[in-house]
Symmetry: C2
Subunit: 253 residues, 2 copies
């Protein structure tokens, strides 16, 4: 039995981190059950994709904020790959461009998506809270907050299968983002997990690391709460937020 204030071994710390995923990762959110189960109409899928764009677009800013605090060139050289993954580099168009293929394919105007004008305020607040967390907390907490990537491949597998099976308006081109992340996320998560296990040595550091991952699961969960409230039940989008066209709503799969 582990007492509350014992220092965890690296193996115990990893187990505690994975337990947070099992209990709090947004794969458990009812909105994702609806999305992956084919229960949403086109307008609701559009709302999800344009809100999630805000998150995707902010990830390189988040990673640059972390890099601006790393004093090790080796660590920065590892971390900069994440910026390339999203912004593109060389031949690779990058994850943000792949996400825009999804929103294009869903019939959303690209400039409107990029402007973020129709995104929910709660989405923007959650995303900026994440960027600020990484900019302001310790390196260790900032790196630990990336560990939701440990749990991403499972949800991406489920999402690819669900989207392709249930929605006639979604094809392979539109899920390119998730296919690519199947390889990228495990590489990044392995590095970050190893870093955290090596560097979180005191109980205070371990508590901070666990809290950072819980914070990050909150950031993800809050975005889905806001989507659910605005577009599922009671379906009350706030002033200024995206409203699905009638045509979109009628194309329920």
């Amino acid at each position: 039995m582990i007492e509350c204030d014992d220092v965890l071994t690296p193996v115990q710390l990893e187990a505690a981190l994975r337990r947070i995923g099992a209990e709090r990762y947004h794969s458990l959110h009812p909105f994702h059950r609806l999305l992956h189960g084919g229960k949403l109409d086109l307008g609701q899928v559009q709302a999800w994709a344009l809100n999630r764009y805000v998150y995707q677009a902010a990830i390189p800013r988040k990673d640059a904020a972390l890099m601006s605090r790393l004093r090790s060139p080796e660590l920065r050289r590892e971390w900069v790959r994440r910026i390339h993954d999203h912004d593109g580099w060389g031949e690779d168009e990058g994850g943000i461009a792949r996400w825009l293929r999804l929103t294009d394919g869903l019939g959303l105007d690209r400039d409107y998506v990029i402007s973020e004008e129709g995104a929910l305020p709660a989405t923007k607040f959650a995303v900026e809270a994440y960027v600020r967390f990484v900019a302001e907390r310790s390196e260790l907490e900032a790196i630990a907050s990336s560990l939701t990537e440990l749990f991403a491949p499972a949800i991406h597998e489920e999402r690819i299968a669900g989207l392709l099976a249930h929605y006639p308006f979604i094809d392979e081109n539109l899920v390119a983002y998730f296919r690519r992340r199947l390889n990228q996320a495990p590489r990044d998560a392995t590095f970050a997990l190893d870093y955290v296990k090596r560097h979180a040595r005191t109980r205070a550091e371990q508590k901070a690391v666990l809290a950072a991952l819980r914070f990050k699961t909150d950031v993800l969960w809050a975005q889905l709460d806001a989507l659910y409230f605005a577009y599922v039940e009671p379906a009350l989008p706030p002033p200024g937020a995206f409203r699905p066209a009638l045509g979109a709503a009628s194309r329920r799969s």
Copy 2:
């Protein structure tokens, strides 16, 4: 005759920026005259190289701080090259590693250099002031503060020639950093100058851009004032700062 509050044309703005370089760039500092003219002893060159390391090592943090605020993936993709230039990427060891070849070659212990323990407090203050400026000011000011690179090739040419001609302890391997910057700096400076000319459209923006470049020349100049004071005249290194070994001082070229 241009009145004080007229909006400058892009061509006039460029001329005003270049005038700042002509009047304030650290190529004019007496310490550089001594360095490039072969008037320093080994210990003084060591002091210069280990202090300047602090600046070199901070550049990627500065560029990441800027990237953490850029909302355009295209602009970030351009800017991230600067991080690669310094941290290394793929086959390229990067500018920080090239700088360490210089400090190695000068006989300084690598861990001591990287620890920054012997660097002058004034160096660290100036460098961190630059990182904070870029993190906190407008994108336009942050980008404008990089424009000292417009003036860098001339000083690098002069430095390579002067160091090789005057100091028996400096060879081609030790000036690799400057050789490489001869190509990198003009590419970066051209991009940043074009950006500033396109985006500084109001007089207030133009004043901010000019002030940013003046600030940056202050950052560079202050580092040389501190070196001069500590190691040339009156030659009073502050407590804890690097002190050249007697052996080093005797190897005056």
